[in-house]
Symmetry: C2
DNA sequence: TTGTACGCGTTATCAA
DNA sequence: TTGATAACGCGTACAA
């Protein structure tokens, strides 16, 4: 039980070489003779030295190898959404060439004590969404010279954005339904704002969440009078609840439903079954995202496949580029319309 | 466009104070006169200094404020499991008093370049599961004096474990079914090992994954002859597939199914419906975990509620204790049996 | 191929 | 309440 951990100088002394030589043995940046390497390695294991201290190395190098990922919501909630999960996956790949790890951060730290955008040793940060509170912290971060990228959100003109053609994509699905003869169409949207409770979206209701607003706009381009019911979140249970409302009155029943996420669509389908409606014979349902919904078989959603993994990857590549001193441009990805078996001709 | 970022010494010079005084203004560790604070803060904003460099601070302090979370699987896959997600949630809370953030790490870094247990500036590490490859890296990490805790796994005697009474809990559910008169019971288990493909668990099949083995053992205590079908993962679709196998032959059909996760149970219920069986009148189904399965209503699973959030929180508290120099003990949590409406008397 | 010299930016300690 | 000093542990020009 030594009183102090061995450092690279201890190893060097033990091996009879200089500290820089020992350093080079571990970093491999410079050729070292086999004999020297051996001596250093032996000394290291004799002293129980397991490699350079990452803290010191990161100070010296000016890089910590850490990319912060900032969510607006509670961490646990964020991962309940498969879209975010898959995006994280792509992000992990995107930053891999950097040799960086992902540090989970939340926007406002309730305890006030946790690691934050300001105090964590970040090389770069990726924001997932960007609302009021976050925009303030941002100035300080960018002032520090830390590259920032935002996914699905607007963090100001100077911050590169990774986005989606939400409006155009949703318009495409709506157009598909119109071509199939549907005229009575309803929309089930994502929340209008954080903390939203499920309910009809009236004309005056402000929609703060970008994704919700953009997708709805696309639907309304084709069906300007479509009623929109906003769910409280992207969950099957929420879609089910929304579907029950839509299908409650046979007289008012739509022949097609545009859901703003696949999970919502799955719930709507469940509601249709409950109401004794066949999909797609009696009612067509479209989703958005293109994920695999666990347990939805035999249905295959007609949906808009978003390149969610690519979004994450692009964000990773963008921060990598910025760390190289390059300018990263904003990117807008395009969704792929995929026709499944949940949409069909409007009933007579 | 200065050529170099301002440092705390620059700020101190500008403010006409010493570097240590300026430091204290930012850390708040020592009282500073209002006038001095003001001068320092003014100088800082004049110079565009936004606070101490976390890299340097962490070197000096010997703490980075980062706790690594190591998964055995691909990061994306890990978060597909709601249990892991919720556990992360608790972990985030558990480390909050430390003021630490969570760094996502995977066991074996495929690229070889990514941040790893060895190169990341960690204050502590939490392993989620612990198989072969991981155990090796472990020695080096603990040698470095970094506290490690493992959740649901065995990392050796020196590493504190956060576990669950899997066997006893599952025995309890089995016992419940037995009391209800069931005699023909089947088990749907989690995978026997990483990469497992769904199939019957024969007598000789080695079960490498601790959780699977322990829960099965509990079931077999009550129903020694129960056949066990191991799914390929904890998903509704996997439970559905397993259920189809179990319910295929009316002659061999069990009157009750013990599923090793709630998601599997949900799938089994779906399979039962498909086969025209009523739950629980014709077949009882129990789960494990106690999560809310999206879209399973109106069923309420008879299941074993595990304190998953507490598990994460306990892991966080354990590393916090170890960082304080205390010894952290292993903890085994207990599941709560919860009777829902998916289990009932055996049919005559 | 190896060693010398220096600084990365901060903060703990102690004395004033 | 403030300041001087000395690490924290390492990497990298540059010279030898």
């Amino acid at each position: 039980m030594s009183t102090r951990r061995a450092t690279i100088s201890d190893v060097a002394r033990e091996a009879g070489v200089s500290a820089s030589t020992a350093s080079v043995v571990f970093s491999g940046k410079t050729p070292v003779s086999d004999a020297t390497r051996r001596r250093v390695l032996d000394a290291a294991s004799a002293l129980g030295y397991t490699g350079p201290d990452p803290r010191a190395a990161s100070l010296r190098r000016g890089r910590s190898g850490i990319v912060g990922v900032v969510f607006e919501e509670h961490l646990g909630t964020a991962f309940l959404d498969p879209i975010k999960t898959l995006m994280m996956d792509g992000l992990a790949d995107g930053v891999a060439p950097l040799g960086a790890g992902l540090l989970l951060l939340r926007d406002q730290d309730p305890s006030g004590t946790g690691a934050s955008l300001m105090t964590a040793p970040l090389d770069a940060a990726v924001l997932v969404g960007c609302s009021g509170h976050l925009r303030e912290s941002l100035a300080a971060v960018t002032a520090r010279g830390i590259p920032v990228v935002v996914i699905e959100g607007d963090a100001g003109d100077d911050i590169p954005r990774i986005g989606l053609d939400n409006r155009e994509a949703q318009r495409q699905a709506a157009s598909h339904l119109r071509t199939l003869g549907h005229r009575k169409v309803a929309v089930v949207t994502l929340p209008a704002r954080a903390g939203w409770e499920a309910g009809w979206l009236l004309d005056g209701t402000p929609i703060v969440i970008d994704v919700t607003r953009e997708r709805l706009a696309g639907a309304l381009e084709i069906f300007p009078d479509a009623p929109a019911y906003a769910a409280a979140g992207s969950f099957i249970a929420e879609g089910l609840a929304a579907g029950r409302v839509l299908f409650a009155d046979p007289a008012e029943r739509p022949t097609a439903v545009l859901a703003q996420s696949d999970l919502l669509a799955a719930g709507v389908i469940r509601a249709a079954e409950e109401a004794g409606l066949r999909v797609p014979e009696d009612v067509s349902v479209t989703g958005f995202d293109g994920i695999v919904v666990d347990g939805l078989a035999p249905y295959e959603l007609t949906t808009l496949v978003q390149p969610v993994n690519e979004k994450g990857r692009a964000a990773g590549m963008a921060v990598a580029a910025m760390l190289d001193g390059a300018e990263a441009a904003s990117i807008t990805f395009t969704c792929d319309f995929r026709e499944g078996n949940t949409s069909g001709p409007a009933p007579l």
